[in-house]
């Protein structure tokens, strides 16, 4: 099994989630994160001093998938999360050694 971690734009979350769920990916976990990268931050002012916020709000979507559905999931995310502008985000794939469902103690793909 693999874990896909996709850092995406917050306002793209709905679209990505819906597309994934339509294709049968029923579970996922999201974290609110902040990212630095090529995308420029924005400038704020407070009482006359300007400052640049470097970290931009992003959503990290984590989804564990069986090996054979990895490519499908990635392509859904890439398709729906893309705007074409710098800052669309990245997808990381990590190996997962085991999955256990707390409720039933099922393991492996069964547990997803």
């Amino acid at each position: 099994m693999k874990r896909i971690e996709a850092v995406i734009r917050p306002h793209k979350l709905d679209e990505v989630r819906e597309a994934l769920m339509e294709e049968g990916f029923r579970g996922m976990t999201i974290v609110e994160v902040k990212g630095v990268g090529r995308q420029k931050g924005h400038t704020e002012v407070y009482r006359g001093s300007e400052y640049k916020i470097d970290f931009l709000p992003k959503i990290k979507l984590e989804i564990v998938v069986p090996d054979d559905r990895l490519d499908q999931a990635i392509s859904i995310i890439v398709r729906t999360a893309r705007t074409g502008q710098v800052g669309d985000g990245k997808i990381f794939v990590l190996p997962v050694e085991e999955v256990i469902r707390v409720r039933t103690e099922e393991v492996g793909s069964e547990a997803l």
Binding site: P10, H11, L13, R17, E50, I59
Partner: protein, 460 residues
């Protein structure tokens, strides 16, 4: 000095201060019902609007409204409160440019202060309805025009001795003069602006929950308090029985509006939605404003009960009409401003303020008063809506009216003001919910209403 002048002035000034404080109430209600990303903008609008009103009403508004003139407009003492005036002299002893308000036994500046806070209220009503998408500068300019020109003109008709006053149209504290005028101006703005991005998509209406219920509730309490200045203060005289009577009709209508809107929401929506309860309270207050001095306490309860139900249906109705009013300003101020004015024609009883309204339809006075009220509601609405529409379109052409979609998505706080309302708090990502199909018939198709024609649709 004449004790009556002292007493009346004290009361008028204190009541005016309470009404002034309603600006804080509006700021809290509106920012509470808005999203965190637009909070600085909403606060800024509500904070600057009374400053704008203060200068606009001083510069010209007062003169247009109360200056001696014809049935449609004041013509004397127009600029900078500059007309001759020997207030607090009243009646035959009065000599000056502002005869229409010479009945009030207080100095000119006390009259001005009290009328100013009313003008400011009309302007601030607009801010809630156009929130979360309007350009800051455009709002400032509109507010100036509203208080310098539009509000005083219809105000002259009603309180400035103009044609509606002569006709026998009665609006004690301003359900029409203040609230529905604010509401019509807001409606025009909402239609020109279109709904917020994401509010209506694919035939569905997406709720956009307000970010802070404590702010909204605090604001409602402040407004309720302010109304004890608004209505009882409109006596502009320290008349014990009138002040007590009006305070009680005012309070009873608010209480009744709270109850009926809560029950209506509980029955229709399934839960006692606090935002509806708040709107119901304000709806009751707006509705009793015209008649507070003319109706019994019992009638005020009935008026409040109706107002609370009206608010709930109006909120749902505007939603189905795809008219996007983030804070319910139209349901509260426009719908109940109209209803409250008409209610005078139904519930008025001559005994409470003799030599004014006479009896209304339900108390044996026939339909004459109601007809006058209808004429007033309609003409003021037509004028204000039409003129506001013109002003909004002109502003749209000259300085633009709506922020860019990118700015709207990011929030107006960064775009317009370059700062965040809550820079340290973690704000959760928006969206990530599904609209539940309700049992209500589906909303009308996009495009069937002016509002949606001009809607920005970024998602599409």
């Amino acid at each position: 000095m004449d004790q009556k002048v002292v007493l009346d002035t004290l009361w008028v000034m204190i009541a005016g201060m309470l009404v002034f404080f309603m600006n804080a109430g509006f700021a809290m209600v509106e920012s509470g019902f808005g999203r965190a990303k637009n909070t600085v903008n909403i606060l800024s609008k509500n904070f600057i609007v009374f400053a704008i009103s203060s200068l606009a009403f001083w510069a010209l508004g007062w003169g247009l409204m109360f200056g001696n003139g014809n049935g449609f407009i004041g013509l004397e003492g127009l600029w900078g409160l500059g007309g001759a005036d020997n207030s607090p002299a009243t009646g035959d002893a009065y000599q000056g440019a502002y005869a229409a308000i010479s009945w009030a036994t207080v100095p000119l500046l006390a009259k001005f202060f009290f009328q100013l806070v009313f003008a400011g209220t009309a302007a601030t009503i607009v801010s809630g309805a156009v929130a979360e998408r309007i350009k800051y500068l455009t709002f400032i300019l509109f507010s100036f025009i509203l208080v310098a020109f539009l509000y005083p003109i219809t105000g002259h008709w009603i309180w400035g001795g103009g044609w509606l006053a002569q006709l026998g149209f009665w609006d004690f504290a301003g359900s029409t003069t203040v609230h529905s005028v604010g509401g019509w101006a807001a409606l025009a703005g909402v239609l020109v602006l279109g709904p917020r991005i994401g509010k209506f998509k694919g035939g569905k209406s997406y709720p956009i929950p307000g970010h802070s219920m404590p702010l909204a509730t605090l604001g409602a309490f402040i407004l309720w308090l302010g109304w004890f200045g608004f209505n009882p203060g409109s006596t502009m005289a320290a008349d014990p029985s009138a002040v007590a009577h009006i305070a009680l009709t005012t309070n009873s209508a608010a209480a009744a509006g709270i109850l009926s809107s809560t029950i209506a929401a509980w029955l229709i929506i399934g839960k006692p939605d606090l935002s509806m309860t708040i709107n119901g309270c304000l709806g009751g207050l707006v509705a009793i404003t015209a008649g507070c001095a003319y109706v019994s306490v019992g009638s005020s309860i009935i008026i409040g009960l109706i107002a609370g139900v009206l608010v709930v249906f109006a909120v749902l109705g505007f939603d189905r009409l795809r008219i996007d009013d983030p804070v319910g300003a139209l349901s509260v101020h426009l719908v109940n401003g109209v209803f409250g004015t008409l209610a005078v024609g139904l519930f008025a009883q001559s005994q409470f303020t003799p030599n004014t309204t006479g009896d209304g339809l339900f108390f044996g006075g026939g339909g004459g008063l109601l007809m006058n009220q209808i004429i007033g509601v309609a003409t003021v609405g037509l004028f204000t809506f039409g003129a506001s529409l013109g002003v909004w379109f002109a502003l749209k052409a000259m300085v633009g009216i709506r922020v860019s979609p990118e700015e709207e998505l990011e929030g107006l706080d960064i775009g317009e003001h370059g700062m965040s309302a809550y820079p340290e708090f973690a704000i959760a990502a928006e969206h990530s919910y599904e609209v539940v199909e309700s049992q209500r018939p589906s909303a009308p198709k996009p495009g069937s209403l002016p509002g949606s024609q001009v809607a920005v649709d970024v998602e599409g």
